[in-house]
Point group: C2
Chain length 581, copies 2
């Protein structure tokens, strides 16, 4: 079935990769949605056919599956619409707007801050655009449930060859925003396995009757700093290494396989980028309402050299995995453990199917959370929520400032500055060689020393140009990671905020007999549990943040000291070659 | 008497100084030539009257004093015209062309390299433009022979308030080229005290009958490096210091008086800028054909602050005086000794008058030079000349390259670079203050350390911005001085080259009975003397150059080492404030 689709961003085809160049605003016909790996096949108005990234297009209205298939068996929760349409849809709006922080912002015009295309209708722009209400099990039908016996077969990883190592803000270079601020924010399954539920929202959890299965309990304790997750005794860790190129379909498609070795089993497992992506989707579905799941290192922007790209992706996958390992809830989860330590192919496939069928996803994850602490009243819940929102927004600004300044500094250090040192070096050397031609006796000491000084400045040029890779790189990577992580908070906080709004309406609902007085008590109790979860997560975030920034600042300064000392030593040596007078 | 004059360069009047703004190409009427101090009074086409720098205008043909007042008593040397018009006029052309180095260059189009206005007719553009053949005693009639008993009265030094501290190439900012490449090159009195000589040139010396007075002998010896001047046992030196502001004409005009203390008498004398200028004129007239006399620090470009300007001018006057003191011929001359150690006002005035009446100027200075060495043959003389020409041209290029690169580096170090460090510092501090607002316990160590690191980068910004004054400044000043000095060589070498051409014509002149065989022998001998003088001067130049560049490179590198070490130490301290993990 062919759909019309609208191109959202410019995309330039890479030669020889069967891709199709498209322009923003162009209408194309989707000829094959079953390509997988984030790609679709499309035909443009000139009849050319090729692959286009799924994320770059928006399906037309006719192409979208019907959104409102009412299920008469489902309970009628439509009354929520009448009271709080804004709050229930808040996370979705935040996802689609330009500024993920606009969830707390009354001014809708703020949404255009980040150069994201305005999307006032709230149309989904994510990769599941054609299926905005799709449940988790249907979100990647082609990628993971392709035809044939081998469910892993019909996918490709050409996109493995694409990435970026720059920290540009969107709109500066490419059309696509990087990192976690984008993809994750629209993937939280606010909806669930209740077929026919047309509205999503925390009410699913606040009023649900079922209790979680015992084995899945996530505990929260009151620690010194407040509510904290239950941390394991030994911290999980893993090493991502040894990227190997593989190919399939008679060499037509190639992919990179990484070796991941957890410190628990010390036995390496192999995973391709798409497996990481699968894991990310599972974690987002399952924990995204309570825990910000940062996006994987993005794969949309074209890289420079294959080797550099693979190294950069591996480094970022390592960073992502390390962060996941450090999280007590995620690292302890069945799906994460499966990823790190599956025994064999059969084990992996069975685990995958089980994970994809997991029903405790979206807001329902809160049913598994138990706080060993007295219930909080709503005022406190709300205060905490506001505080976290302010803090994460402020930190997001601070992190972005560092990224902007760092990016400029990077450019200067690798561009004009070393060129200038090189020119200084050349100027000294040139003058020295003029002096050598003087025919005057006994100035060899001077000319040798001047030539050496000139060469020293050429060396300094090299050192300056290479320095950012040694210090700024790590500072940028860490801040970039935090930018991604912070970009997930608005959604997580949005779910929380929506729940608070629901609880606030409880009296009214009781009065109009929409819910019972007991329901109201349950709602408050569950909002309290949600707040404990948010606080535990914030405390986890703070503790990691302090660790990370302490480390990155130290490393940066250490390398900067080395940098200045190296140059000073080189210049001291150059100086010593002149005769003292 | 009112003359019409053409404006050569844009000049913007300073408010309140009775100056007149004029534009390049404008025709003005000179209403008073008797202002002195390098200024004339002029009226523009709108009837406005005001002062304009003499150097900025070119007098019309009608205004120039008659150039050809034949003196029947003078020997007829006009035959030289027929044989070598190009070579005799070469130094003059070089002076007026854009590139002082074009004397050796066959391509006339090169002349436009330096953005000097093209002047194909060879019209004089110097400050003595109205009197191109004027003798030394008439070159500044108003400045030094004004009306009234006090011959020092009617001058002003408003221009003392103008200077530049930039190293821009001409055409970059102002209309006037700076330093020695300009004024000096056209001031060599090729003509002399032989009234009626319409052509100038080395023939005056090559064929003159008179011998120099005994007391004025300048000796050249054969040293280790070749011909050298006779150096004094103790090197003369002086300190220029203590600038004091004075005023006259009831405070209408102000000037700065500097205190100059020579190491010989250790007794300070006072001089104003115009006295330095007078000395410069005397030295140029007397020695310019044999010794490059660098221009004084220029006074045409508007400065920024009075204090900064005075400091800069004093520093440059010191540099100029030091160079003059170091020169064995100049430092030993009567006029220079007078300047440094006149006993009283009467002594100074008598000395001045005597110096202004000195007849051994221009090429006649060679009559006082005696080389204690066998005569050189013309081939060797010519080879040396070519070699010096190549070297000084090449060094001029090298020096200008350093000035260009240094100027750019200066701009970066005082502009964008410190701003960037400041922004890095601010970004760290901002993130630190966000962290402080987290409400999470126990992160004071981190936030204090981050704030300190941020402040350190602000300090680094300051250090970076101030560094050029500590190292680049001296490097630039020295190279700027050399640029000025090297700009004088084309004229000095031009005189030499013209003499060689004359000697080459000797056979022809003998054959046509224009000169005797004995004249030819005399010419060759004198060309040899000129070559010894040039070689002695080049050896003096080389020895000074080696000393100066050794010193300046050492100082530059020393300060650079300090710079990098200071920053490293600051960063090491910032690093130590983080907790080790």
């Amino acid at each position: 079935m062919a759909f019309k689709a609208q191109v959202l961003y410019d995309f330039t085809a890479e030669p020889g990769n069967n891709e199709l160049t498209v322009k923003e605003g162009e209408t194309i016909t989707v000829t094959n949605q079953n390509i997988g790996g984030g790609w679709i096949e499309a035909q443009n108005s000139r009849g050319e056919v090729g692959l286009v990234p799924e994320d770059y297009i928006e399906f037309g209205q006719t192409a979208a599956p019907p959104a409102n298939v009412g299920n008469p068996a489902a309970p009628d929760l439509s009354f929520f619409d009448a009271f709080a349409p804004a709050s229930t849809s808040a996370p979705t709006q935040a996802s689609n707007g330009n500024d993920p922080w606009s969830v707390w912002n009354a001014d809708p015009s703020r949404g255009s801050n980040n150069n994201w295309p305005a999307n006032p209708e709230g149309t989904q722009t994510g990769r599941n655009a054609a299926d905005p209400w799709g449940s988790a099990s249907h979100s990647h039908p082609q990628a993971y449930q392709g035809p044939g016996a081998e469910d892993d077969e019909w996918d490709d990883e050409w996109d493995d060859m694409k990435s970026t190592s720059s920290y540009s803000e969107p709109g500066e270079g490419g059309a696509i925003q990087r990192g976690g601020t984008h993809a994750s924010s629209m993937k939280i399954s606010l909806n669930n396995r209740f077929p026919g539920f047309t509205k999503s929202g925390p009410e699913l959890y606040l009023l649900c009757k079922q209790s979680a299965k015992g084995k899945e309990k996530i505990s929260i304790y009151l620690g010194e700093v407040g509510p904290v997750w239950s941390y394991p005794e030994a911290q999980l860790d893993c090493i991502v290494a040894d990227p190997k190129k593989g190919s399939k379909m008679y060499g037509l498609k190639s992919y990179i396989e990484y070796q991941i070795t957890p410190n628990t089993t010390n036995r390496p497992v192999n995973h391709r980028y798409k497996h990481f992506d699968w894991l990310y989707e599972r974690l987002l579905d399952k924990f995204g309402s309570a825990i910000p799941i940062p996006s994987l290192p993005d794969k949309q922007v074209t890289g420079r050299f294959e080797e550099e790209f693979i190294k950069m992706r591996m480094e970022r996958l390592q960073g992502w995995m390390t962060r996941m390992c450090r999280h007590p809830v995620i690292s302890n989860s069945e799906v994460f453990q499966l990823f790190l330590s599956y025994k064999d192919e059969k084990d992996w496939k069975m685990g995958k199917r089980k994970a994809e069928k997991d029903e405790t996803v979206g807001v329902m994850v809160f049913t598994t959370i138990e706080a060993e602490a007295p219930d909080l009243d709503l005022v406190e819940v709300e205060q905490k929520c506001e505080q976290f929102s302010r803090f994460t927004k402020a930190m997001d600004d601070g992190v972005k400032e560092i990224l902007t300044v760092g990016n400029e500094h990077w450019k200067r250090c690798t561009g004009p500055l070393p060129k200038e040192y090189q020119r200084i070096g050349k100027a000294f050397q040139n003058l020295s060689s003029v002096f050598t031609s003087s025919g005057y006796q006994g100035e060899a000491t001077l000319t040798d020393a001047m030539t050496a000084a000139g060469k020293t400045y050429e060396e300094i040029a090299q050192i300056v140009a290479e320095q950012p890779k040694k210090d700024l790189h790590f500072l940028m990577e860490t801040n970039n990671e935090y930018k991604g992580l912070l970009g997930c908070f608005p959604d997580t906080i949005g779910v929380h905020k929506a729940a608070i709004d629901k609880v606030k309406e409880a009296d009214k609902l009781v009065n109009t007999n929409k819910i019972t007085a007991q329901d109201k008590v349950t709602m408050a109790k569950r909002a309290s549990t949600m707040s404990y979860a948010l606080q535990a997560e914030m405390n986890h975030f703070h503790s990691n943040r302090i660790y990370d920034y302490n480390r990155v600042m130290q490393q940066y300064l250490e390398e900067q000291v080395k940098f200045y000392e190296t140059i000073a030593a080189k210049l001291r040596h150059a100086h010593s070659q002149f005769t003292t007078m």
